[in-house]
């Protein structure tokens, strides 16, 4: 057998490409159904877990899928915002905890999720290093987001601005990283979390600037409105960063009740409170309350239908690959018949041809198994939080 192993090694060295292609196709055929099955299972588990941990969700009327995906999994959406007043009204209900959330901003492409302080307790989030944000302008990074951004406590980053050349829009705001969250295995790992005030500061709804009455540069004051408000030039820019020095000067114009939120997470004391508030808000409108667990179940039903189709295609691919491999094996027997005859003419024992084929296919199947295991492990590692696939 030693000679057969030696000859197989030499044969593979002389013809590595067909052997690798064969091993890779077998590995993919074996791994793909397993990976898709595992992913679907993990995806379902993670999605359901997250949804179950949020009993109710209040938001604008419209797609309940968009609302749930935006508020729970931080996907972009085109839903209009709801007012802070909704959160305050719901928070005033007995037996109901309302947590406002705002997800419309990004920094270096990473979503900025601005939340009320209670959010961290509701999600069981704690800082692995540094601390949770205490001040406007501070943020805490999810574990994966911190790796992606390469930042730690004390680090700085600017919010993304969609209006780079429009001076009438708010400039990017510099955020200070106050800490890094411990990994949670959920969507919170992927985002930047900050206080709601910070989101409104990014949107320009609260800002700081020098006191106009204390003196302006020539040309900055354009006039005074009949209401008494000063009309300032576009060159008069608000502060682009928040520090202990300018923090007291941060202020808002207009009504606080109209400040925007993406949604309000609701944690009712019991099922009765949940049912009552759900019925009342949904009957009155224009806002809606949805049950994320139900929404996700509907979503998963569609996803699982597609998954069943993908499974069927995977098995078909596997069967085709197996048939091809069997054809290749049969062709190999024919192509290497002369080699077996040569070895027989040199006195190799009976069945040397079959032993050579067995060694070759042993090597191919061994390599394919290792590749399949590596692919499976890689897929499992890459998809530790499958909600990222959303």
């Amino acid at each position: 057998m030693r000679t057969e192993l030696y000859l197989t090694a030499r044969y593979l060295r002389a013809r590595p490409v067909p052997a690798l292609a064969l091993a890779l196709s077998l590995a993919l055929s074996a791994a793909l159904p397993l990976i898709s099955s595992r992913l679907a299972r993990e995806f379902e588990r993670a999605l359901t877990e997250r949804a179950r941990s949020t009993p109710l969700l209040a938001g604008p009327a419209g797609s309940r899928f968009d609302l749930t995906l935006a508020a729970l999994y931080f996907r972009s959406s085109n839903l209009p915002p709801v007012d802070l007043a909704l959160a305050e009204r719901l928070g005033a209900e007995p037996g109901l905890l309302a947590v406002g959330i705002e997800t419309s901003h990004r920094a270096r492409g990473v979503p900025i999720v601005a939340v009320a302080r209670e959010y961290f307790d509701c999600r069981g989030l704690r800082a692995r290093s540094g601390r949770l944000p205490n001040w406007v302008g501070e943020c805490v990074l999810g574990a994966r987001a911190a790796r992606r951004l390469g930042l730690g406590p004390g680090g700085k980053l600017f919010s993304d601005t969609e209006h780079l050349l429009d001076l009438t829009k708010p400039p990017a705001l510099e955020l200070t990283v106050s800490g890094i969250l411990a990994p949670s295995g959920g969507p919170d790992d992927e985002v930047i979390l900050a206080d709601l005030e910070t989101a409104w500061a990014i949107a320009g709804l609260s800002h700081a600037h020098v006191d106009p009455s204390a003196g302006l540069a020539p040309g900055q004051l354009l006039g005074q409105a009949p209401s008494g408000d000063l009309v300032l030039s576009g060159a008069f820019l608000p502060d682009a960063s928040i520090s202990a020095e300018n923090r007291p000067r941060f202020h808002r114009h207009g009504s606080a009740e109209q400040l925007p939120l993406t949604a309000v997470l609701l944690f009712p004391r019991d099922a009765k409170v949940a049912t009552l508030i759900e019925q009342r808000i949904n009957a009155r409108g224009p806002e809606q309350i949805v049950r994320p667990a139900q929404v996700v179940a509907e979503l998963l039903a569609d996803v699982l239908r597609i998954k069943r189709l993908a499974d069927w295609l995977s098995w078909l691919l596997g069967a085709t690959t197996l048939a091809l491999a069997l054809s290749i094996a049969r062709l190999g027997v024919e192509l290497r018949a002369e080699e077996a005859l040569t070895l027989a003419k040199l006195g190799a024992g009976a069945g040397v041809g079959w032993r050579l084929h067995a060694c070759y296919w042993g090597a191919i199947l061994g390599a394919a198994s290792l590749l399949a295991a590596a692919l499976y492990a890689l897929a499992a590692a890459l998809c530790s939080d499958p909600t990222r696939l959303l």
Binding site: R10, T342, A344, K345, L346, G347, A348, A350
Partner: protein
């Protein structure tokens, strides 16, 4: 009929042997054949008269239909397959007309293959001898080249190195110099005869080349007897 008498017991002994090829479409009669240690015998004859058939029978690859055929003490008519394979693997040096080199091995690896099949000790000894043989047959620079990159003559010399590298008592060669120019053929023959003399091995060499056959002290020939039938006879230069 026998090759020149030898004092040693016969390495090859055949009496009244009939060899059938192609389900009896061709029959070679071997009335008598004896080869002793150190015998150097040429075998000639027209194409298709059974020279390669005789070599195949002496290698144990073709079992005689009748008569007695013994090679190195093994009765080839009665021997089991494994015994015949053992004889071929460990005690015979053979060069087949079609050379049968493995295309994914280099010259050196092809040359070492019989010794590898014979066991680790024989392989180790063959490895030591290999550079000298490659040098003698002008293949040192082509040691790692696969057969597809060799000329016809180089392939033939590679097969000759493979046949001679591992010392064995009986050497059977089918047209070992047919693709070589006269100079190389002479060089190969010198190496071959020197090797047989040094080892005391018996040689049966098939050739159509009178110069090659003329260098061997004894000669046999296959003579056609009619369609599909031939006989092995003693031949005189």
């Amino acid at each position: 009929m026998s090759a020149p008498a030898s004092a040693d017991p016969a390495l090859v002994s055949a009496r009244g042997v009939e060899l059938h090829q192609g389900a009896g479409r061709f029959v070679l009669e071997v009335p008598e054949l004896e080869l002793g240690a150190g015998d150097l015998v040429g075998l000639e004859g027209p194409s298709g008269t059974g020279k390669s058939t005789l070599l195949a029978a002496l290698c144990g690859l073709l079992v005689p239909e009748s008569g007695e055929l013994s090679v190195l003490g093994l009765d080839l008519r009665r021997a089991r397959t494994a015994e015949r394979q053992g004889l071929l693997r460990e005690r015979l040096s053979v060069l087949f007309q079609d050379l049968i080199l493995l295309d994914y091995l280099g010259v050196s690896e092809n040359a070492l293959l019989p010794a590898r099949l014979a066991g680790p000790q024989r392989l180790a000894a063959a490895r030591r001898e290999l550079p000298d043989w490659l040098e003698r047959l002008g293949l040192s620079a082509r040691a790692s080249a696969p057969p597809r990159r060799l000329s016809g003559g180089e392939r033939q010399r590679a097969a000759l190195v493979r046949a001679l590298l591992d010392p064995r008592p009986l050497v059977l060669l089918d047209e070992p110099t047919s693709s070589l120019d006269p100079v190389l053929a002479e060089r190969a023959l010198e190496a071959l005869l020197g090797c047989c003399a040094a080892r005391g091995a018996a040689l049966l060499l098939v050739s159509h080349d009178p110069r090659i056959l003329g260098r061997l002290p004894a000669r046999l020939a296959t003579r056609p007897l009619g369609p599909g039938r031939a006989r092995l006879e003693r031949s005189h230069p």
